[in-house]
Amino acid sequence: MSTAAPPTDRTRPDQIDLTASSPRWGEKAIVGWLFLCAAFSVLVTVGIVFALVEPTLEFFSRVSLGEFFSFDEWAPTFQPPAFGVGRIVAGTLNVTFYALLIALPAGLGAAIYLSEYASPRAKRILKPVLEVLEGVPTVAYGFFALTFITPIIRELWPTFLPGALGDPPGIFSAASAGLVMGIMIIPTVASVSQDAMSAVPASLREAAYGIGSTRMQVATKVVVPAALSGIVASFILGISRAVGETMIVLIAAGATPNLTLLPNESVLTMTAFIAQASTGDIATGTITYYTVFAVGSLLFVSTLVLNMISIALVRRYREAYE
């Protein structure tokens, strides 16, 4: 169309053709590519499952289920080997327990503060700080636990406590790893909880303030109950992160598969076992190799269940308020 032609020429009926001027194959190919990229993420999960299933089945063809799911002894690399996974599950739960003892209340408190108390300016400063905190490499936390927290704990251990609890911990302890891991998880719990609290409609808060409630009453009696499913979701996500964390426990918790819930003992966790056993080049086909995958399967399934519960709970509050 020449620029000289008036636009009305376009309306001549004999020129009107509303069918597509070209099949636009390029466009369709692009959408196809985009879909493949999105679907690729499913392939990653499928890949994880496949990577785990075959060696795990191989493992169970050599080791009985009863032997694996027991608390007897954990020594897969020794002669004779022992595969009582309960030992390292207990180690994981031990560290997780002490981590959560810190992360859940502190994370919830931080979330309430950010959502209900902090001024916009404080929020602008605190949120990036929490983001940075979430991004600190876990190897740095591990080093901090081993070289800073552990000596302090050993120094200040309440030796007046009765029995085994009164013994000061050694170089490696669940307490040191758990403490630092707990602090590592605070931002996760805080940000997911705060999202849930922010989703609580302002009208609910206003209604409560309107009948003369204090800020604390609004926070504890209105906002927290209303955001409960999101808060529980953040707790479960926190548990999932604690169970799956590797470097802190690998560096600071030690490698002794002790069956204990005491904080002052050294424990071996599932993740630390995997990292330890497969560092360097482990030979394919050995029982150690298959054990790594069996433990990996257990770890994957347990975190998967936790994640699914957490996702379902987040959806619940989203549906309620959006």
Partner: protein, 308 residues
């Protein structure tokens, strides 16, 4: 859903009214203050720890923050002059590999999910659920995937840099997808409508209007994802960032490699004091890079954020 909301509202109203009636509000002044103090304490614990982590590493590693650290290769003999050049180069290569892999993949996936996906379709819901879950899978599980599928198995790359890059890419894929979707979503629908109303096709609209406007957001997301990948240690232990390599990686697909975090780990677990100092120096370098990356991300976000 409204019923649940009403239920919460009435419950809250009842609770607060009861609290008013039983007079527990009288001591409210100091109770509220204590409550607030506890909340502030919660957030302070986290921040103080962050500061402590940085300061402790800094003061421990200070004696070894010298040029040898960058110039020399790791050595277990010359502890006082050992460096980490191979680790730094390994990490640089790893990150280049991650960036070229995950950015096209993640941005494409995000465009599909945000612009084309029909959320009523089961497969779209499956993809979304899958990405949410993938974001919370422990990093060491990605290491297992890398070991079984990338180093060995179908891809069979061996213990090379790109095996590590690919493993880390899968790990941060959900981060890139989520942040890119956020960036795309923040471009207002009115811009899309305006372009479509002119007779632009959907893809042209995305390519010429939506993506240019979301570039800062995508960049921020990419930097944050890379900063997550750069500190990851556990999966690299499984895909062969072997801890003692005294030469720089030959290429993406050949030769052994090490990385900053795995090198730090190796030093941190040695009993000798010199190695601890080296580990701390390595942490300072790593944290320094991270802080630069995070600041860059925040700067981009603040500078280019458009208020529509």
């Amino acid at each position: 859903m409204t019923s649940r909301r009403n239920q919460i509202a009435t419950q809250a109203a009842r609770d607060v009214t009861l609290a008013q009636l039983d007079g527990s509000n009288r001591g409210g002044q100091w109770k509220g203050a204590v409550f607030k103090a506890v909340l502030v304490l919660c957030i302070t614990v986290a921040i103080v720890t962050l500061v402590a982590v940085v300061l402790q590493a800094f003061f421990t590693g200070l004696p070894r923050l010298d040029m040898n650290l960058i110039r020399n290769m790791p050595s277990s003999i010359d502890r006082s002059t050992s460096g980490m050049q191979s680790a730094i180069w390994g990490t640089v290569r790893l990150m280049v590999g991650v960036a070229v892999t995950v950015v096209p993949l993640g941005v494409s996936a995000a465009i599909y999910l945000e612009e084309f996906a029909d959320r009523t379709k089961w497969y779209v819901r499956l993809i979304e659920l899958n990405i949410q879950n993938l974001a919370a899978v422990p990093s060491i599980v990605f290491g297992i995937l890398g070991l079984a599928f990338i180093v060995r198995g179908p891809l069979d790359l061996g213990f090379v840099v790109y095996a590590g890059s690919l493993t880390l890419s899968l790990l941060v894929l959900p981060t890139i997808i989520l942040t890119t979707r956020e960036a795309i979503r923040s471009v207002p629908g009115s811009i899309r409508e305006a372009s479509m109303a002119l007779g632009a096709t959907k893809w042209k609209t995305i390519w010429k209007q939506v993506l240019p406007s979301s570039v800062p957001g995508i960049m921020t997301g990419t930097i944050l994802a890379l900063s997550r990948a750069i500190g990851e240690t556990a999966p690299l232990l499984l895909v062969g960032a072997t801890v003692f390599v005294t030469y720089n990686p030959d290429g993406f697909f050949e030769g052994a490699f090490t990385s900053l975090p795995t090198q730090i780990f190796a030093w941190a677990t040695r009993p000798q004091e010199e190695f601890r100092i080296l580990a701390a120096a390595g942490i300072i370098v790593l944290m320094g890079v991270l802080i630069v990356m995070n600041s860059l991300a925040i700067w981009i976000r603040n500078k280019f954020t458009r208020t529509w």
